[in-house]
């Protein structure tokens, strides 16, 4: 605390005057009181100066904090933006879950049908092995087997394309992961700012030394996945076709 020092010489002079007034029988009570008040005022002045200084510091700190544009950016842009991004995460995870369940719902009957047809054929085959099939039945089984081969080809490719669809649906984990990391960074930044605010309250008597909190900026700022409705400013490709056109224009 570097408050204005008390003027000791002046105070000593006043105190000695008070002592000699007290020693003298001629001094009136009023005179003594006024001398005591005068000495008291040294303390008051000092206190008021300190109080004024503290008030000014608090005021400056708060103004500085308010004027830091990053804070208003956080409140006006980044937090609403983060909400939209999290909504997009919900949409993407929901879509991936539905894709996977859709493929399973479509694929299970296919697998069941193949299994059922195979057991019919197996029963026929066992009869054939026991020589219980008539020539007509044998011809019928031959046709069934052929039909089964054709069908199983078709069904298998259906199932395999379903597997690829499920596989591709898992890309949500990477994209939502990137978005969630961005939101975590934002939460960390808000935390830092809140701590700063608490510090201002607590350390208001000391010189406020909050440096401007600016968004970290790299050489090329990476944006991560584009969120619908939240496309970054500047030229952003809408999809692979745009990218291909751009690369083609560059001679690719």
């Amino acid at each position: 605390m570097d408050a204005t020092p008390i003027n000791r010489d002046l105070l000593l002079e006043k105190a000695q005057a008070l002592v000699s007034s007290l020693e003298s029988a001629e001094t009136s009570d009023e005179q003594l009181e006024s001398q005591i008040d005068e000495i008291n005022s040294f303390k008051d002045n000092h206190l008021f100066q300190e109080l004024g200084k503290m008030t000014r510091e608090i005021h400056d700190s708060i103004m500085k904090f308010r004027m830091d544009s990053r804070i208003s950016d956080l409140a006006e842009t980044d937090i609403p933006d983060a909400k939209d991004r999290l909504e997009y995460v919900i949409t993407m995870t929901e879509k991936a879950a539905n894709t996977a369940m859709g493929v399973i719902e479509e694929g299970s009957p296919v697998a069941e049908k193949l299994g059922a047809e195979a057991s019919v054929l197996k029963a026929q085959w066992q009869k054939f092995r026991k020589r219980e099939l008539s020539p007509d039945e044998l011809r019928a089984m031959g046709k069934d087997v052929e039909a089964f081969f054709d069908e199983s080809d078709l069904m298998m490719s259906k199932l395999l394309s379903g597997f690829t669809e499920i596989l591709m649906a898992q890309d949500f984990q990477d994209l939502t992961g990137q978005i969630i990391r961005q939101v975590i960074n934002l939460v960390n930044e808000i935390e830092t700012n809140l701590v700063e605010l608490i510090k201002i309250q607590g350390e208001s008597q000391t010189q406020a030394k909050n440096e401007p909190m600016n968004k970290p900026q790299g050489e090329t700022k990476l944006e991560g996945p584009q969120v619908p409705g939240k496309e970054s400013s500047g030229d952003v490709m809408k999809g692979q076709d745009d990218v291909d056109d751009l690369l083609a224009s560059l001679g690719f």
Binding site: L167, Q170, Q173, D174, L222, P225, V243, L246, L250
Partner: protein, 124 residues
Amino acid sequence: MKILIVDDFSTMRRIIKNLLRDLGFNNTEEADDGNTGLPKLQSGNFDFLVTDWNMPGMTGIDLLRAVRADERLKTLPVLMVTAEAKKEQIVLAAQEGVNGYIVKPFTAQTLKEKIDKIFDRIEG
């Protein structure tokens, strides 16, 4: 054909690995960023690199630069598969010598097309 897949998300590495296997490429290895990927490339006779851009540690663009600056790796075909979709970034990747660029989310068909195109060009 030995392929290195570099992405910080293991799910994405697994997706790409499975898609490559469907395309007939069974010999793949994985790394989670440029810092772990580059030593693998330098010691492992890879024929092809598939890399993400935005990764902690060494990013994909820096990995691409390192590959192009390395005497033994500089001709390695590099396919970038990333969520970064800004024009300036794609132009930058092209300038640094990328052979193909796919934006996430992508389809199995897109991956096949880009890989075919890269190898057609190299062979042709």
